[in-house]
Structure formats: C-alpha cells, structure tokens
C-alpha cells in the first residue's frame, strides 16, 4: 500500500524483525543446494586471483620498494591510485578486450587479478620500504645475489606482504562489479556469493519491492560472505600480532646482548 504506513506492531517489533530475518537466513543455510558450490567457487576465485596477482606483482613490488628513483616513486603513487580502480569498468573493458573469456571462470580470475594487482604492488612495496635501513645493503655486502636479496626482502617484510595477500583475498570475495560483468551472472557456472546477492534481487525484480521472499536469501548469502571475511580478518589479526611479538622479542634480545651487534644478522642466518 504505497503512501500509507501501517501502525507499528507492539513492543520489541524491530529486534524481532531483525532476529526473524537472521533465523530465516540460517535455516536457508541448511537447505540451500547451491551454497556449497557457491562458497567453493568464491574461495577458489579468491585464492586463484590473489595467487596470480602475487606471482605477477611480487617482482614489481620488490623493485618499487627497493629503488628510490623518481620513476619508482611514481610507480608507487600509480599503484596507490589503482587501489580504487572501478571494478565495473575493468570488467567491461576486459570483456571488450577478450570476448572469449566472457562467461568463464578464467575471465573472472583475470578480472580479479587486475583488481588485486595494485593491492599487492602498493602494499608490498610499502612493506619493503619499511624494512630497516641497511639490511639489504648488508646482505649485498655479504655477497648475496640479487634473487637472494629479493627473497630476503620478501621474507623480512612478510607481515606486510601477508597483509597485502589477505586484503587481495578479501577484495576478491567481496567484489561484485567485475565478477557480474565478466561472469555474465550465469547462476550455474559463474556466480559467487557476492554476485549471488545481486542475483537474488534481479531474479525477483523490484516490481513487488524487496519483500519477504527476497530478503532471507540475501541475508543468507551475506552471512556466508561475512563469515569468510571474519575468518580472513582473524588470520590477519593473528599475523599482525605475531609480528608485534616477534619484534618485541628481538628488541628484548638486542637489549640483553651487551656488545653492539647488527640487529638483523640473526634472522639472516636462518
């Protein structure tokens, strides 16, 4: 009934409404036949695209992080700006560029890789830049070859690099623009959890509004997405705390040793 609002039900109706929706969604979790496939595909997409982005972006990240030339600074600014690349536009341009990838999982992975590449490069380079001065020079002085130095830099900056990887994974799980465009929203083959939420809306259309039958599936899929993101956030927090602990331990160690000693030799010997 447009234009006429019903009188609000009795006390506590709002909380009851929200809890009702969530309970309906949790019940749906049990009955949804596609949920396993959707979740599996989402995780697959996230890991594949993040892995590809790491493979492609590790070397640029290292080079940008190590060099202090003007061009490398500009590349870092560029990568930072690329963090906000519009996903929908990326999807459309990718479909225009390679029509044969349309509607395939490969295309979705490619789109997500393009989107998470700036994350890996920008955050990885920033992590490498924050390494203590002289660490890499020291390794070079000890005669390490360039690949060994790169490996050392990545290992030493592992907290920042892992953060970048986890953020890339999260963006692949959450992203909806590129996946919807490239995947073409074929429910069987190329829907992820996030794009399935859009499908829930499109499937019913807006004609009757977002009514009772549309909201629970949306909430259900949103719950799974939130669960995945929470797992990622937990891993991220553990990784970062681990880094804090390590640094504190190193500081204690350095304070306990009476003579002067290069701070990072211990970790290089491993």
């Amino acid at each position: 009934m447009p234009g006429r609002a019903r009188a609000p039900p009795g006390k506590g109706w709002f909380l009851r409404y929200v809890v009702e929706q969530i309970i309906l969604a949790i019940r749906l979790l049990h009955y949804d036949p596609d949920l396993h496939a959707l979740t599996g595909r989402t995780i697959h997409l996230a890991f594949e695209s993040a892995g590809l982005a790491v493979l492609i972006g590790a070397v640029p990240a290292y080079l940008i992080g190590v060099r202090t030339t003007r061009s490398s600074r500009w590349a870092l600014v560029l990568a930072n700006t690329g963090l906000g690349l519009p996903a929908v536009a990326v999807g459309i341009f990718l479909v225009l560029l390679t029509p044969e990838w349309y509607g395939t999982f490969t295309g979705m992975v490619a789109g997500q890789t393009v989107l998470s590449l700036p994350v890996i490069i920008a955050l990885g380079a920033a992590a490498i830049r924050e390494l203590p001065d002289g660490l890499l020079e020291q390794a070079r002085a000890y005669g390490a070859t360039e690949p060994r130095i790169a490996l050392l830099a990545l290992v030493e900056a592992r907290i920042g690099v892992l953060t970048a990887v986890i953020i890339a994974l999260g963006s692949a799980i959450a992203e909806v623009g590129a996946v919807t465009i490239i995947g073409g929203n074929f429910e069987q083959n190329t829907a992820t959890l996030a794009s399935e939420i859009l499908n829930d809306v499109i499937g019913h259309g807006f004609v009757g509004g977002l009514g009772e039958s549309v909201v629970p599936p949306m909430v259900e899929h949103a719950l799974v997405v939130v669960g995945l993101m929470l797992v990622l956030a937990a891993i991220l927090t553990i990784v970062q705390q681990w880094g804090h602990l390590q640094r504190r331990q190193q500081r204690r160690l350095a304070a306990a040793i009476p003579f002067e000693r290069p701070a990072r030799v211990a970790s290089m010997e491993q």
Partner: protein, 298 residues
C-alpha cells in the same frame, strides 16, 4: 564509420583490435549524442549521472572525513582501554563488502515495502532504523539528501579513513609531539600537529575512500529501488541515485548478452575517465607542489 555493437558477433576466440576500437568509439558516440536519449525505456542523461555520482562520492567521503579523521586521531593518539581492540575492528571493517552493507541497510530499513511494510521507498529513510534512532534523516541537519545510498557509501568510506588516519597519526615520531607539548601545545593542538605531519597518509586514505565510493556498486544496486519508480522520479526532477551512479548505469545498461551495449561502454568510459581525473586531482593535492618535484612518499 564503425558499426555500433559488433564486438563478439563475428566470433569468439579472436581479439580484433579494430573491433575493440569500434566498441570504444560506439561508446564515445553514445556519449556525444548527449542527454535525453531513451534506450530500452530508460532515459539516459550522462551529465546528470556524472554530477550525481560525484555528489554521491563527495557526500559519502565527506561524512567519512567528518567522523573518520577525529575518531582516527582519537584511536591513534588516545590512551584508553580497548584502543587496540577498536583498531582491530576498524581494520576488519576496512574491506567490508559493499553488498553486505546493502543487505544490512535493507534489513534495517525493512526492505522496500518490506515485511513490516513501513517504507514506501528506499530513497528516503523511513524504516525501522529511523524508529530506533528516534530521528528522521530529513531533520534540518541532514537536509542535503542523506539517502540510504549515501549512508551506505559513507559506511564503506568511514572505516578506511578512520583506520588509515589512526595508523598515519601513530607513525608520527612521538618526540616531536612531546616537544610540541613541552612548548605548551594543548592536547588538540598536539593532535592537529600529528595530523599535519601525517597528512600524506591521511590523504591517501581519503583517496582510497573516494575511489571506493565512486566505483563500488554492490550497495547501490541493492538500495536503488525499482526502475519504474526511478524513471518516475527522474521525470519529476527528483534525485534518483540508482540512475545517478555511473557504475550502476554500466551494470544495468548491459542486458547480459555478449555484444556489449554501447550505453554500457559509454558508462564504463565515463566511469574510468572520472576515476582517473579525480584520482589525479587528489594525488596532486596529496603530493603537494614542493614534494611534487621530489616525488611521492611511501
């Protein structure tokens, strides 16, 4: 002249540069033909859409800055229990999925003519959320159209700005701040100094937030309301944020068949162009003139 929508018609498996160029050109032509075209019963008004997209992004980022920078300062420099925990929560919320924000607001407002039937439209808040916080968003403070869409985008922008401000402020060397305090700076002056010193990183956070609010589509898609109502609103001259977002336009202008519609290409081109222009402007602002010569920082 290139034909309008040929990409993919002549066959899969070939990348033909001419086709790509033709597709891009067809998008450009659609832009050039200008406003008030009716395509698939949808009024296309690129100018309006661009302005609304910018307004949406500015309003959402503005709300994020308004609340995020003071709160970020508080979290970064304050000393109170649970500060670490709050920072961790902010970190976790930083990449909250836009669709989840959309679903959250749909549930909170009872959906469009939702289960409780309270809200006629999602263009203005009138759902359970309003009853809970006890005030309508159309009070004088919020007369500049805080639609649920702006609210959703602000929810995306706020944690990013907050967390990056907190980390930026934490990185400012403590002796500097202590020195300022020794010279008699009050607490808020000290915080202001920390903000000034960490402005590059703070602005980086604002840039990321702006990029996300300008391009994220998940929340807008769920909150935009129906096409018919949108068209009606449009002719009434009222704002219709669903049509007003370029990324929504790009997503909806395409019907899912492979020859990409020129309108979708046009939207994608405008979106990319707008992103590039605003990102360049903000980066210029961030780097400043003096450091412009010296190059970027971190």
């Amino acid at each position: 002249m290139m034909s309008v929508a040929v990409v993919g018609q002549t066959g899969f498996g070939h990348i033909v540069p001419g086709q790509l160029w033709g597709a891009l050109k067809s998008g450009y032509q659609t832009i050039e033909q200008g406003n008030d075209q009716v395509i698939n019963g949808q009024i296309i008004d690129f100018q309006y859409t661009m302005i609304t997209t910018l307004r949406l992004a500015f309003e959402a980022t503005g709300i994020g800055v308004l609340f995020g920078i003071p709160l970020g300062c508080l979290l970064g420099l304050g000393r109170f229990r649970g500060r670490r925990g709050l920072l961790a929560v902010g970190n976790g919320l930083m990449r909250v999925p836009p669709v989840v924000v959309g679903v959250f607001i749909v549930v909170m407002t009872g959906g469009q003519e939702g289960t409780l039937g309270r809200s006629k439209k999602l263009h203005s808040f009138s759902g359970p959320l309003v009853h809970v916080i006890g005030a309508s968003f159309s009070t004088p403070l919020f007369t500049f159209s805080v639609s649920p869409i702006v609210f959703a985008q602000a929810m995306l922008a706020l944690p990013i700005i907050l967390t990056l401000t907190a980390t930026a402020v934490q990185r400012v060397p403590v002796p500097l701040l202590d020195q300022a305090q020794a010279f008699g700076a009050r607490r808020w002056r000290r915080n202001l100094l920390a903000l000034r010193e960490g402005r590059t990183a703070v602005l980086a956070g604002v840039i990321v937030a702006f990029g996300i609010t300008i391009s994220a589509v998940g929340a807008i898609y769920l909150l935009g309301g129906d096409q018919g109502g949108c068209a009606a609103n449009f002719t009434d001259g009222q704002s219709c944020a669903r049509q007003g977002s370029l990324s929504y336009g790009a997503l909806s202008a395409w019907n899912g068949n492979l020859p990409m519609t020129p309108v979708a290409i046009a939207y994608a081109e405008l979106l990319m162009g707008m992103f590039l222009v605003t990102a360049a402007a903000l980066t210029f602002l961030q780097q400043g003139r003096s450091s412009w010569v010296a190059g970027g920082q971190t």
